[in-house]
Symmetry: C2
């Protein structure tokens, strides 16, 4: 979708990752991360400029030559002070704003906004300022600028002040906190965050609920709200289908089939992430076995989960708790030839896709989630008319309510009931539900998502 | 204040507590607990009937004789099944609703609404039903019935169904959760709770903010809201003055003076309670010492804190964390002759009042609090034009904003700044602020609070 108008995309992580080949030459390949996966196909080849941080040493060396190109992308990379970057990324983005918007704090104990946090907030400001300066430098006259996610909430004011010719959109990938939760941030930081976002011409979210929360926060703090819009991300069906057809995926599926046999399969595919609600998922599965003994030895729960953010102590301890719980449940219930829960932490995308293909029930039960693309991937790639049991606290619930089964993520007994209901559906009901789910999910593409963002950059 | 109209007061804990004297006779004395302290003087001698649970073995024996009288109270006590009572009180009231309304959950891990919790919820229903049945039996025709607190959210529907002649008021002592937090409760329990309260003719709260949250929850769930009213509780100034004049208080004050000497005194008086924010209070005090070394050896922090709810594991571990933190800070900063933090866990009211009398700065920094009477007691009893540093998340903030210093409870650096500012005020500023605080707090009495509740029972 080439765009008539110049476009600048701004995000923490860029479209490319450099490494050195055998001859010592810097070679670009497509970068990892959800945004590049989701937007890459729509953006590549359009001539848009992507402003993003240089993450590795090779990236930083490549950045020395200014704008770099590869895989259809034009990347203006930023070299940031490593201490600033760590404070910005670990302390503010992952350790503060992520927790804020997902409601993950144990408030009697955390957060603690002390003077060290204040320094990290200063670093967040500086990094946002550096992104802003790069856009000021790179953006063609009158360009549409799309800034992504909570990392870059303070970029828009720089552009508003120095480049009023630009039309700036900010898009948030996480949920957005309600006003009562925003009160947890230091008052000045909360106001700065909201004003920063509101300096964009438009702010986008994956779901109406997060849009409403953002607007309510603006009202509470007396910040004039920008235009807002809702544009849920979508799955790249071709890319997913290619993985599903791969040899690696076929092997992973064969491995899984050998273990599961003719049993029913409940599955989850997630990062090991505090918001994903692994613990209550396993507890609900155990309650299913306890309250419906007919499922003992007849169902397996495959947890295809992979480590995440292990630089934060909270994530390490959460992983240990989840592993301990799985061990305890398996010790309690296992019989010769049957292990109730398969705990697999290999970071292996074909393995994840194989799990989604084979699932009879896909459990997606986050305590709160901006969207949740796994739910959509599962719908598209599943081969058994699998049932989707989806948290009402995920942004995707707004698109899939009525066709997915509703999970209340804190209600362990209720989740067990949903698992039982899902496993008990007859083939006709499963087929009808799966067909309806597929048609809802397939109705939207990554190109639609990107088009919505660009449309929001047009002044009404 | 004798009331022309018959009145029934309903609360978990009653106005009397029985014990056996030397002759084995059951003897009543006034019961403990905040409600009896606050409302007792206004209610005693009015002929009102108080319906409440029998808590001790002696209470249960006294209850065998039906309504019991003493200290001016007429008490209809309920004997409840001990297992039901424990589930109702520990699991639902203290372990669920308290956490819900104060925002104390570590949501990635707790709560877990499993089948055991479901049984506790059934017990909560049964206990509320028993309270309702007792009121149905005892209430004179056309009586005003005032039901207190989160323990008894489901009493009003019983009365609406069986005694439409009664005018029922429900008063909530805690904060009330916002709609996003209410979503954490199982959907049916949340709806039942709101509908139960809404079956009263009027619902009262200590602060406009909790009233607004309740109304927003009703709107979100489509529950027709009852009339609502705001009626903050007040301190019994005579009772407090009597304690302040007591020998025990004089001795405690002398003890404190010996330790503090001519240093400035920062003080807190609190239950050891997750909502009270002990940890960040100590961290802020440490940050004060670190950022303003002129206070080293010149200020003492007296923490008059007493154990609470130690039957719940969360409270035991919170106490340990607080004690460990105090030890660590004292180990870091103490010098010969100076201990920065005095940690005193004796449950000794005259000692608490002595601490309030002597404080130069009273720190009241809860993460969330229905009202906070300690803030008001401190204002009335302090003898040094002490400064009140008050959390904006306490209900009392609505009454004292503008005359108390504002504490943002999660902002450790900001709290340290407030402590420094409070300690640095000159005598004239202190006197002016203390005078303004006293006149605000003294403007309202327990009789006003009780009159507001009775007035709300009158159909408009």
């Amino acid at each position: 979708m080439p765009s008539a108008r110049p476009v600048v995309l701004v995000s923490n992580r860029g479209p490319l990752a450099f490494s050195r080949d055998d001859d010592g030459q810097l070679v670009p390949r497509r970068g990892g991360g959800g945004l590049v996966t989701a937007l890459g196909p729509a953006v590549a080849g359009t001539g848009a400029t992507w402003v993003a941080a240089a993450l590795s040493e090779a990236d930083r060396e490549a950045a020395a030559s200014g704008v770099v190109e590869g895989e259809g992308f034009r990347w203006r990379s930023l070299v940031l002070d490593p201490d600033d970057y760590r404070a910005y990324y670990d302390v503010v983005c992952n350790g503060t704003l992520w927790f804020l918007h997902h409601g993950l704090w144990d408030l009697p104990r955390r957060p603690r906004f002390d003077r060290y946090w204040r320094r990290a907030w200063d670093a967040y400001r500086r990094v946002n300022g550096a992104f802003g300066a790069a856009v000021v430098e790179e953006a063609p006259e009158g360009a549409a600028v799309v800034v992504h996610d909570l990392h870059l909430s303070l970029v828009a004011p720089v552009l508003a002040a120095e480049r009023p010719d630009l039309d700036v959109v900010h898009f948030t990938h996480t949920p957005f906190c309600e006003p009562a939760a925003l009160r947890v941030l230091p008052a000045d930081a909360g106001a700065e965050l909201l004003s920063g976002m509101a300096a964009a011409g438009a702010c986008g979210f994956h779901a109406r609920r997060w849009e409403a929360a953002f607007s309510a926060c603006c009202a509470e703090l007396g910040v004039t709200p920008p235009r807002t819009f809702v544009a849920p991300a979508a799955v790249d069906a071709d890319d997913l289908a290619a993985t599903a057809r791969s040899e690696a995926c076929a092997e992973a599926l064969a491995d899984l089939d050998r273990v599961v046999g003719d049993r029913a399969l409940v599955a989850r595919v997630d990062r090991i992430e505090l918001s994903k609600n692994l613990l209550r998922g396993f507890l609900a599965f155990e309650e299913l076995l306890g309250t419906h003994p007919e499922w003992v030895e007849r169902v397996v729960f495959a947890a295809a989960v992979y480590p995440s953010r292990e630089g934060l102590a909270e994530y390490l301890s959460y992983r240990q708790e989840a592993e301990g719980l799985v061990r305890r449940i398996n010790d309690t219930w296992a019989t010769p030839g049957w292990t109730p829960i398969l705990w697999d932490t290999s970071d292996d995308y074909p393995r994840s896709v194989a799990t989604l293909r084979r699932a009879d029930v896909l459990l997606v039960n986050p305590v709160r989630d901006g969207l949740n693309l796994v739910a959509k991937e599962g719908v598209l790639v599943n081969e058994r008319d699998g049932v989707l049991a989806l948290s009402r606290e995920a942004g995707a619930w707004e698109e899939l309510a009525g066709v997915a089964l509703e999970v209340h993520p804190f209600d362990v007994a209720g989740t067990a009931d949903v698992l039982h209901a899902a496993l008990s559906l007859g083939p006709d009901e499963r087929r009808a539900a799966a067909t309806a789910l597929r048609s809802r999910v397939a109705a939207r593409t990554p190109a639609d998502w990107w088009a919505d963002q660009l449309a929001a950059a047009t002044r009404p």
